[in-house]
Amino acid sequence: SSSDSSTDSNANSEAESANGEANTSEPKYGGTFTMVTPADPDTLDPHRQSSIYTHQMAGFVYNKLVTYETGPDVDFTDYNVVPDLAEDWEISEDGTVYTFYLREAYWHDKEPVNGRQVNAEDVVATMERIIELPGHQAALLSEVESIEAADDTTVVFTLKQPFAPFLNFMANHFMWILPKEAIDGEVDLTTDAIGTGPFVLEKWDDNVQATYSRNPNFFEEGKPYLDELIYKVVPDQGARIAAFRTEQAEVIGGISPEELDTLVKSNPDITVREVLFPTQEQVYVNMEREPFNDLRVRKAISMAIDRQSMVDSIYGGGEVSGPVNPSLGSWALPLEEREALLPYDPEGAKELLAEAGFPNGFDTTLIVTDGYGEQLVRVAQWITEDLRNVGINAEMEVVEYATYFSERWPKVDYDIGVGYQTYFQEPDEWLRTQMHSQGARNWYNTKDSDLDEMLDDQRMILDENERLEKVHEIQRYILENVLNPIPVSTYYVMTPHQQYVKNYEPHASYGHIHMKNVWLDKE
C-alpha cells in the first residue's frame, strides 16, 4: 500500500546516460554493497505487507513466476514480462488458461528447506496463500478460478474469463513464490525468508540492518556478482548523506534535491540516477459535498495548480501526471496531451468558479497526512497557496497517519485532500480501483456509469494495442468529464550511487530485481 511508501524511500533509479561504458568491462566479483534507506519493514512476510520496504527486501531473496526485464537497454518504466521461476508459459486461445513451466531452481540452503528443488506444489501453495490472506494481493488473483499442479514442474491457472492484466499481475511484487514448508508454518515468515533469489538472508536486525550473502546456487549462471549485500536503516537524511560521503554506503535514498545538489557539487564523481517515481500526488475531492460535485469547481481546482513549478521546486524536477501514472510508459497519456488537458490557468479557474456561482471563491478544508514524510505536506502547502490565489481559501489540516488512513480517506470524510496513491503497475489498477463506482479504492465518491462500463470493458480486451487505445480514451474521458482524483505530478527520483557501482539499472517495480546484475569496480 501507499502507507509506508514514503517518497523519500525510493531507491530505485534508472540509467539515464553513460551506461554503455559500464558494460564494456568484464564484471568483477566480490565486495559488499550497502544500501541505506530511511526505514525498514515491520515484517518480512511479503503477502501480509504491502510496504515497499518489505518488498524491497523480499526482492533480494524471492522470485516470481515471471518478472520484468531490467538492464541498460531497458527503460525504468518498461514493463516487459520475462521469465523468472517459470522458464516458459502458454496462454490458451480464449485467454482463460495459463500454463507455466518451472525451471530447475533450488531453494536456499537453510533449515528446513535445505536447498531442495522448487516444484509446482510450492507455487500452488503460495497462490492459495495469496488468495486466502486478507489484503490487496488477493484482488490480483480475483479472476482466477483454479490453480493446479499438472506435474512437478507445470502449474496451470484457469481464469473465470479472459483477463488482460493477468500476466502483468503475475509479475507483480505480491507474487513472490515461497517454499511450501514456510507456508505450512515451518519458517517464521515475519522474520526470516527462504527463497530462490540471488541473495540469502543471513541476519535481520529490525530497524538496524539486514545482511545478505551471495546465493551460490542461483539459477542464473554466474550471478550475482556481489559477495554481500547490506540493507541499512538510517532515518536521518544528514546521516545518510554523511554515510555516502564517507563511502559507508554505495547508494542512498530519500535525499532532498537541494542537499543532493550540495552533495554533487562537493563530490562531482558520483552518479545520480534520475527516474520517474511510480506514483503521483493527487488532489481529491469529496464528490458528495457541495461544491465539489460541480465539474467546473473540480476543473477550477485543477487549473489553479501550477504543477510544473511545484514539482520542479519541491522535488527538483518531474512532469505533469495523468489518470494512469506516466511511469507506466505508453499506458499513460503522452506528456503533451497531459499538459494540454491539465493546464495551469488561474484566470480560467476564476472564471469557472464564477460560472459555478463562486465569484469570490469559497472556504474549505484541505487534509493531508504527514505519514508519508514532509514532501507531501509541502506539496499540500503549495497547492493551498495556489488555491488561495484563485479564491479558494483552503485551511490545511494535517491529519495523523492512522486517522487519515483509517478514518478520513477511506471513509471519505473530507472536503479536499492531497495524497499519494499506491505504486500501481497496471493501468487497470490506476483506473478501475480508483474511479469505478465499485472500485476498492474509490474513496472519492466518484460515480459515473459510462466510466464504469468503459472500465469493465477494457480488462477483457486481450489485444494489447486495442486495449491501449481504450485506456487512452478512458483517460481523456476522465480528464474531461470526471476529474476526481485530480492528477498532479510525478517527480523524478534522484538516487546517487558511488561511481564504482556498475550495472545499477533499477526498475519501477518493487523488489530491487536488478541487484543480481550489479557489481563493484573497485579493488
Binding site: 502507507s3 515491520d42 515475519t190 536521518d236 544528514g238 546521516a239 548523506i241 492512522a402 486517522t403 483509517s406
Partner: protein, 315 residues
Amino acid sequence: MGEYIVRRLIYGVLVLFIMVTFVFVVMRAVPGDVVTLQLADSGATEEQIQALETELGLDKSMIAQLGDWLTGAFQGDLGNSLWSGLPVTEIIGDRLPVTLQLSLMSIVLAILIGIPVGVISAVKHNTFIDHLLRITSVGGLSIPNFWLGLILLTGFALVFNWIPPLGYQSFIENPVVNVQQMILPAICLAITLSASIVRMTRSAVLEVLHSDFIRTIRSKGAKERVVIYKHALRNSLVSVITLIGLQVGYLLGGTVVLESIFSLPGLGSLIFETVSARDYPVVQASVLIFGAMFLLVNLFVDVMYGWVDPRIRNS
C-alpha cells in the same frame, strides 16, 4: 530496607497499572484503528475485517482485552505485535538495550562533568568562574538537545568528515563501534543533564557549606579539601541523586529525538513508530517499560539515599 524495597515495588506495580490502563483506554478511544489501517486499501470484505479483528483479539470488550493483556503481562507475556505478529517481549528486548545504554552513558557523562563543575562553582562562590559556570549551565539547559544533535552530526561530518559508524552494533558485538555510535547522542543528552547537576550540586554544596556541622569540621582543623569532598559533597549527594532520579524522565524522553537523529534502534523510536501504526500491544508495553524504568531508577535512587545518608537508611 528489604521491606521498604518490596513496598516500593508493590507501589510501583500499582502506578504502572494505572498508567497502562490509561494508555490502553486512550489508545483505543482515539480515532484510527489497526484493522482498518491494515485492510483499508485491500478492498477487504466485512467478514475479512471481522476475521482479522477476531484473530487479533480486538472483538472482545475493552475490559476483557485489558484483563487478557494484564494476565499475560503478569506472566511475562506482553502479547504480539498486531502488525508483524512478533512477540512484543522480543521486539522490546531488541530495542531496550539501546535506550538503556544511551541513558546510562549520558548519566555517567553528566555526573562526570556535572559534579566537579558544580563543586568548583560552589567553592568559587560569587567569583568570576562561578558566574561563568552558572551562566553556561543555564545555557546548557536552554539548548534543545535535538538542535545540538543536528549540529554535532553535521558539524562532525563537515569538519572531520566523520560520522558515527552506521548500523547499530551492540556493545557486546563490537564495543569500539558501539561507543563511537553512542558517544555523540550521549553527549547531547548529557549536556542538559549535567547542566542541572551543576546547578543542583552548586546549591546543595553551598547550603551544606553553610551548615553548622561544617563549622564543627573546620574547628577540628580539617583541611579545606576534606571539608569539601569528604563532608560537603557527601552531604549534598542526596539532593543531587534526587535530581538525577527526576531528570531521568527528561533523559528518557530525549532519547526519542536523538535515537531518530542518530539512527539508533531504541525504545523511543519504537513508540513513535508504533503509535501511528496503532500497534496497541507494542505501545502499551513500551510505555510500560519506560514507566518501569523511571520507577526503578527512582527506587534505585531511594536505595542510594540510604547508602549516602544513614538517617534514611535506618528509618
